[in-house]
């Protein structure tokens, strides 16, 4: 247990040292700030998919709920960062509760389809109510609005540390869940929900809690993304943003705490480098993913845990 906690804290320390020692170039610093916020989104997704075994194809809904709730409140209502962040978290939690309540009436493939449908409704609503949301083109959050406790969040250094703080918070929540009796029940539900039910667990309620936690973390990541990078757009609500966290989690390792981070780094740089080589970069990405699937079908961290380090959460 101690080794496990040390490993995760070390990962956060490395991310901190990379910046404070000036090892990052400006380019990688920007990339990593983005990756950390997206990895926080992946952590949210992992709680539902990796721990509870519920495959959602509509998580972009929760990410964009946070993104738009905080972004629109700044854009239209002149909310400050604290207020908009709070609103983003509350709205995504509320939407998670409603969607969870409705979607949990289904299981398996139906659950995937229902979550996808809700997400598409949100995406199309963003486009339809373009007078408020600025539709496809989205809107920019002015630099003057992105100030928190006198800190300019558009400053690359501050942005990186903020992203690291958000990711650390989400990762530690994930670690706590993984080690808690609540997390054990989620894993039991993933492994065999019928058995969990017959041990006296209210499986539906646990699944609902899992969706709320997952959706709220995803919404927090969405709200932070808008605030840190100053842009809110409909593309974040599109189906691709529901598929990305699934890929990050699968590549990094479903049901592992560090999996979403490793997966997000891998995918981000794979696309980045492949697009330097050819315009048809998705071919390279596809082949690379095929190899990962063939040789590490539990994901990178998942495979390490399975083969060598059973203590990794």
């Amino acid at each position: 247990m101690r080794k496990d906690i040390i490993l995760h804290l070390s990962a956060l320390l490395i991310l901190f040292l990379l910046e404070i020692l000036g090892i990052f170039s400006e380019y990688h610093q920007g990339n990593f700030a983005r990756i950390l916020v997206l990895a926080a989104y992946g952590v949210g997704y992992n709680i539902l998919f990796g721990y509870t075994g519920l495959l959602s194809l509509g998580h972009a809904l929760f990410f964009s709920a946070g993104l738009y709730a905080s972004g629109l409140s700044i854009y239209h209502l002149d909310y400050n960062i604290e207020q908009s962040l709070f609103l983003g978290i509350c709205i995504s939690a509320l939407i998670s509760l409603i969607i969870g309540f409705l979607a949990l009436r289904t299981i398996g493939v139906s659950f995937m389809i229902v979550t996808l449908m809700f997400s598409q409704i949100a995406y199309l609503s963003i486009l339809y109510f373009g007078s408020i949301t600025r539709g496809d083109e989205g809107f920019v959050i002015q630099q003057s609005s992105r100030v928190f406790l006198s800190m300019d969040l558009s400053n690359p250094k501050i942005r990186y540390y903020s992203a690291l703080l958000i990711f650390s918070l989400c990762m530690l929540i994930n670690l706590w869940i993984a080690k808690s009796p609540f997390g054990r029940v989620l894993v039991a539900i993933r492994e065999n929900s019928d058995r969990a039910l017959m041990l006296g667990y209210n499986v539906k309620l646990y699944k609902l809690f899992s969706i709320i936690i997952s959706g709220t973390i995803s919404g927090l990541a969405g709200a932070c993304y808008g605030i840190l990078f100053g842009y809110v757009g409909a593309s974040f609500a599109a189906v691709s943003y529901s598929i990305f966290p699934l890929l990050w989690v699968l590549i990094g390792g479903a049901g592992t705490v560090l999996g979403p981070l490793i997966g997000a780094i891998f995918m981000f740089y794979l696309i980045d480098y492949a697009s330097d080589i050819t315009d048809a970069y998705m071919i390279i990405v596809g082949v690379a993913l095929l190899f990962v699937t063939l040789f590490a079908r539990r994901g990178i961290i998942g495979e390490l845990r399975f083969r060598y380090y059973k203590w990794i959460s």
Partner: protein
């Protein structure tokens, strides 16, 4: 009055229809505290459906279930289980990616860590899996997985433990061990056993209920069941 006090579970006209097919037909069943009751019947007799109705996995079409003096007919599964009904599946159902310890730990709720640990080691010791406490349960042999499932049922400390064909696929030696365990359990809990192995049924059951086409056709001790012509015709055949 004494008989009433001894009753742990009873049903009143419990029925289940599946789109016109009656799987369980107006069953009035009683089981007393600390009894080992075997529920037997040919394939398709409705045994698993009946016990699923008892623990709420399937909703009854008609009838009521009373457990420990209360009507539990409208309670959801998890509440019935929490009220003291344990159930082990016909097909082994464990959490394969979790260790033996974690599997049993999940069966114990609302206990302090120290107490929980002591229960886990006690039940694992009883079923003979103490030396495998840290092993991934999916790596256990089939017989050991059945024992683990039994340990999970025991650790719940239920008032009634329903075992659905627990000896299926076990070796003769494992079955002998299993019989001893069930006998041991009945000192502290009631056991309702669905079983096809007549040797197991005849050697450990205090009372036997025979189900055929969803109805109870006979009930009594092993001698009365063996000599009942209805049972002979429906199920036992040459074995009696």
């Amino acid at each position: 009055m004494d008989i009433l006090n001894d009753e742990l579970l009873y049903t009143e006209n419990l029925s289940k229809n599946f789109q016109g097919i009656t799987a369980v037909d107006k069953v009035n069943f009683k089981i007393n505290k600390n009894e080992i009751r075997a529920l037997i019947g040919p394939n398709g007799a409705g045994k698993t459906t009946f016990v699923s109705l008892l623990c709420g996995r399937i909703r009854a079409s008609k009838g009521k279930v009373f457990f420990n003096g209360s009507d539990i007919s409208n309670l959801p599964v998890y509440k019935r289980i929490s009220s003291g009904i344990g159930y082990t599946f016909q097909i082994t159902a464990i959490f394969s990616n979790l260790t033996v310890y974690e599997n049993v730990a999940l069966s114990i709720k609302n206990r302090r860590d120290k107490e929980k640990r002591s229960i886990i080691f006690e039940v694992l010791n009883k079923v003979g899996l103490l030396d495998r406490v840290s092993q991934r349960s999916g790596d256990l042999s089939y017989g050991h997985q059945r024992l683990l499932e039994l340990a999970m049922g025991m650790a719940q400390r239920p008032k009634l433990l329903i075992l659905d064909e627990p000896t299926q696929g076990l070796s003769d030696l494992e079955i002998e061990n299993f019989k001893k365990l069930i006998k041991d359990f009945s000192k502290t809990m009631t056991v309702l056993l669905i079983e096809h192995n007549m040797d197991v049924v005849m050697s450990i059951a205090d009372k036997i209920t025979v189900l055929h086409f969803g109805k109870i056709i006979s009930e009594g001790d092993k001698h009365s069941i063996q000599s009942d012509p209805l049972v002979q015709k429906a199920y036992l055949g040459d074995q009696c």
